[in-house]
Each structure stands twice: as structure tokens, then as C-alpha cells.
Symmetry: C2
Subunit: 343 residues, 2 copies
């Protein structure tokens, strides 16, 4: 199944399909999918149909996949999972989807996963409510786990998601390079939920503290890597590849790693890029095109790829403690899968 070892990152990876990486937990993934498509509690046919449309629209399901792989990789003898692991995977995807729906309201986005967003197809009002409803469904799932430690972990994730967005909102069009703040925002926006998903399964399994810490470490670094690559693709990808408008971070004045690497050079291209951002020229088609060209031509892309590889390696290193299994192999291959997106 896995195309690489867990201790190194191959430079040239054959095409990896996420679905095949999730093969070792395909039965469990089917249960998650079934739950998302039909098990959500709501007595209104309109709402039920809306939720079903949202989940049928797809999504990579990387977070529930990580929950299931981490759970099996750390269960006694890598044995079968209990239904509470399925619940954990479901609630992780519910929180992710809810936060995307609210993000799209916040960003006035019209495309997501190649489809019209809820706010675009219906309106902002319904999008706020549907997001709230999914957060509520996640809370109900959380309650079913009957585990106060995990309730605490996910409560913190919910807080982090909001703090991350508010921080980002308050730093729009700011060109001062602050890597610590960037890292913190990436943890809040993305890595916090990845980490929760990766170490809550081991907690449910009653794994030892060292194993739990390793899986949290894996999830945190993988999440940071994921966010860095997401920021990179916003600069290098096309609208078709992304399923949403390209360059949309910078259009909204959100300055991420690729731009930061150029800005910190403090040379002429850096000054021009800062000027385009501060004057909000990036919000216009010509301005964003020029800004993206400056980033691409001045090493912003390559430096960001290197940064993502650093976190990928940390993520792989954390897996060393795990016993060999197809689940461990998939966890390692998911790191390669993410890096492959940078090619």
C-alpha cells in the first residue's frame, strides 16, 4: 500500500491516490460516509436534504481518515475499532465542514470543492445556521463518547479555529514578517484539529502517554505542513485544481509563507510586493497578477516547499515509535501525498 518508508521523504513520488491510502480502513470509512449522508439528526426534510447535499459534494475526508488510521495503528494488536472511533471520525469531519461553511461566509467565497458554496447557492443566513447546526451535531457526537478529556481537546480546537480566523482578519494587508505568528495561526486554523483527530483515537484506546504524545506530534506537524501547502497552492494552483479562485488569500490581504519569504528579503521585489499589498492593489486583477508573479520569480515558492518538507519530516519522525502495520504505512504515505501536491 505505502510507497515510501516512514523514515525518509522520497523526492519523486509516483501518483498517490488518497483513497488508496485509506484502504486499510475502508470499511470504517464507509460507516463514516453513511453517517454523514444519512445519520445526522434533523426533523426537517429541507435541512436533512441540505446536509446530505453538502456531504455528497465530496471533500478529501483526510481528517476522518487520519482518525481511523491513528486509532487502528495504536489499538492493541492493531485490532478492529469500536463504534466510538467511528463517532470520533464523524465529529472531526463535522467540525471541519462547519468551519469551512462559516469561512466561506466570512470570505464571501462562491466556490468550494468545485461547487457553489452554501452562502452563494442559498444565502449567508442559512450558511451561518447550517454551520452552527453541524457544530451542534459535533457536540452531540462528542457527548456520546462519554470521555471528558476528549471533550476538552475538541473544545479547545473549536476555540482555536475561531481565534485563528480572528487573528487572520486582524492581520490583513500587514507586511511585517512574523514567522511565530504565522505558525501560531496555522496551528489554530488547521493543525489543532489534525492533532485532536490523531491523538484522540489513541486516548480512546487507552494507549500510553508516550504513544499519545507521538500521535499528537504527528498530527500537529502534519497539520502545519498541510496549511503551508494550502498557502503555497493558493499561489501556484489554478482555479480548476483548487476548486476555488486562485490567489484568493492575497486578494483578501492574507499574507502567507510564499509572500513572507519574498517580503523578508527587503530588496526591490520585496518593496514592490509590500506596496501592492499595503495599497490593496492586490484586490484588483492586475495587482494580484503582478504580486503572484513577484512571489513566483523571487523564490517564494521554492522556500515554501522547503518549509513544508521540514514539517513533513517532523511528522514522519513522530511515527517511529509505532509498531509496523499497514496503518502506520498509510500514515507515513499521507505525508508523501501532501508533499506530492507541491509538485
Amino acid at each position: 500500500m505505502s510507497l515510501t518508508s516512514s523514515s525518509s521523504i522520497v523526492e519523486s513520488t509516483p501518483a498517490l491516490e488518497l483513497a488508496s491510502l485509506l484502504d486499510p480502513v475502508c470499511n470504517e470509512m464507509r460507516l463514516v460516509e453513511k453517517w454523514l449522508e444519512s445519520n445526522l439528526i434533523d426533523d426537517s426534510p429541507f435541512v436533512a436534504s441540505l446536509l446530505s447535499q453538502i456531504f455528497r459534494a465530496g471533500g478529501k475526508r483526510i481528517r476522518p481518515g487520519l482518525v481511523l488510521l491513528s486509532s487502528r495503528a495504536t489499538s492493541p494488536g492493531c485490532g478492529e475499532l469500536a463504534s466510538r472511533h467511528i463517532v470520533l471520525a464523524v465529529l472531526t469531519e463535522l467540525i471541519h465542514t462547519a468551519s469551512l461553511i462559516h469561512d466561506d461566509v466570512i470570505d464571501k467565497a462562491s466556490l468550494r470543492r468545485g461547487q457553489e458554496t452554501v452562502n452563494r447557492k442559498w444565502n449567508d443566513r442559512l450558511a451561518v445556521l447550517v454551520g452552527d447546526l453541524l457544530f451542534a451535531q459535533a457536540s452531540i457526537c462528542l457527548a456520546r463518547l462519554m470521555n471528558p478529556v476528549i471533550v476538552g481537546i475538541y473544545g479547545q480546537v473549536l476555540g482555536d479555529l475561531c481565534s485563528g480566523e480572528i487573528k487572520q482578519m486582524n492581520h490583513q494587508y500587514v507586511c511585517k514578517v512574523d514567522w511565530e505568528a504565522y505558525l501560531h495561526k496555522s496551528i489554530c486554523k488547521t493543525a489543532s484539529l489534525f492533532a485532536a483527530g490523531c491523538h484522540s483515537g489513541p486516548i480512546l484506546n487507552g494507549a500510553n502517554d508516550q504513544l499519545i504524545a507521538a500521535m499528537k506530534d504527528y498530527g500537529t506537524n502534519l497539520g502545519i505542513c498541510f496549511q503551508i501547502i494550502d498557502d503555497l497552492l493558493d499561489v501556484t494552483g489554478t482555479s480548476t485544481e483548487l476548486g476555488k479562485a486562485a490567489g484568493s488569500d492575497l486578494v483578501h490581504g492574507v499574507v502567507t509563507a510564499p509572500a513572507m519569504f519574498v517580503l523578508e528579503r527587503q530588496d526591490e521585489p520585496a518593496r514592490r510586493l509590500a506596496e501592492l499589498i499595503k495599497s490593496r492593489t492586490v484586490s484588483h486583477p492586475d495587482g494580484i497578477a503582478e504580486a503572484l508573479a513577484i512571489i513566483r520569480e523571487n523564490g517564494g515558492v521554492e522556500a515554501t516547499v522547503r518549509l513544508s518538507r521540514d514539517y513533513a519530516q517532523r511528522s514522519l519522525d513522530a511515527l517511529c515509535i509505532l509498531p509496523s502495520s499497514p496503518f502506520k504505512e498509510s500514515l507515513a504515505s499521507i505525508v508523501d501525498y501532501l508533499l506530492m501536491r507541491t509538485h
Copy 2:
């Protein structure tokens, strides 16, 4: 403290102040207030100041008051409360405030509690996030209670709040009178959180099932009564009294009890009212003035007052099971306090 017995509703009540009804739990209320003003976790000074402004803007604090009174009225010997009861009161107010902030985005409201709404003072984006953040803070509080039954109860409340709003959104400008749907919506929007607040304290106290059921019954009926009176005041109140625009439900096509009592008469005023609603003429100043006049002149107000009294009585009846105490007296007086708002 109390101005009435718990078994009857006085027709003419001297002015009641909610603050004085909460006197038996004033020490606990101070702890709740302190928590709301300063204890919310956020590392951003901007967010901390925003949250502090929101809670300093006031609000009746009826929900945390009910939590504390219900908790003390059902604790062994009506003794002092543990810190988890304070946490329960705090999280109940957090959920309420979060849902108000999101409702204001949904309704594009500009005034709340006599002050500018978050969406008006800042913008919709921040209002969505701040609401999410408060829901998240509530989840963190919930986790601290370490009680999966209560996590389940509040998870259901969160779902009910969203379902209630979505149902309301889908029934705008609909003139078919459906009392069951109205009751269900009132439970989802309001009574579900009242009921959770009133019976979770007894659960934490380890009260017997009969007592827990009675307090849930009290909270549910009180919440329905509260919602009916809220719907009534929208028709009878002035903007100054309400701290928000009067008639705003009907302006947005939300048909509630006062209008429903007229609509079900199926006479000429009923037909005219239905016409004003269906044609959306109610959304214009002249239209809403005519609609409100029809409701006031055709018994809509009196019938709604009677309906609110029915639920008030059910709420009082539920209290019979409680031992005598100042806390029980306050719970009974809160019913009178609500009814007093109808005068």
C-alpha cells in the same frame, strides 16, 4: 422576596425587579458575572476586549439566574453550590449570547439590548466568528463539568437552536395557522435552553428522577411562556422598551401567536392581514403599521396574553414538588415577572 405564592398567578402584580428575584443567589451571580467579564480564554487583546464589551453591555441574565436558583432549590438542604454550578450558569449564558449574535447576523439587526449589534458595530464576518468563539467557550465549560449526560442535553439544545431558526426561516410569510409547529419552534428557539438550565443543576446535585423531571417541566413551560411574551411584545412594545425595532418579526414575515389568533378567525380582518403578509406589504412602514393595528384591534393581544398565562400556570404547577425555600419562591416569582411584562 417573593410577591406571590407558587400555586396561583396574581392578576395585578406590583413592580418586580428581576435583580431582586435573583437576590437569594446574588453571591453566585457575582461569580458568574466575573467569569463572563474576565475569565474567557483568549490570547488576543482585541478579542478579549470585544468579549468584555459584549458582556458589559448587560442582558437580563435570566438564564444563569434560573440555573443557580434551580440548583440551590434542589440541592441537599438547599445548601451552597459547588463551582461546577457556576460553570453551568456561565455556559448557559454563553450559548444564549452566541445565539443572539448569530441571530442578529441572520436578521441583519442593528440594535440589541439598546446597543449596536456586533454585526452593525463591526461586521458580519466578525459577528459569525465571535458567536462561534462563544459556542466554543461553552463547549470548554461543558467539558469541565465532566458529565456526559449534561453534555448530551446541551448538545441537543445547540441543535434545537439552529433547527428552530431554520424552521422559522422556511415559514416566513406563511399564513396557514399551525399551532403545533409554533409550539415546536418556541421550544427549539427558547424553551430547550431554559429546560436544560433548569434541570441540569438538579442532575449535578444527584437529585431523584421525579425532581429532575419537574424542573425540566418548569423550564420548558417557562421558556414557552417567555417566547410567547417575546412575540407579544414585538406587537405591543415600543422600540425604547424593547431595545430593538418594534414589529420586527412581522416585518420579516415571521408570523407568531398574536397574528395567528387573528388569522385563524378567517373573517375580513384575517383576510386583510393575510394579504398584507403574503404580499410582503408588512415589510414597508405603512404595511406593518396597518398589520399591527389589525392584530391589536381584533383580539390578537388578549388571546396571546391568555396563552402565555396557560404556560405560566403549568410552569408554577411543576414547582409544587419542591421543598419550601427562598429559591423556590424566586423561581415562582420569575413566572410573575415574565407575566408582568404583558401589562
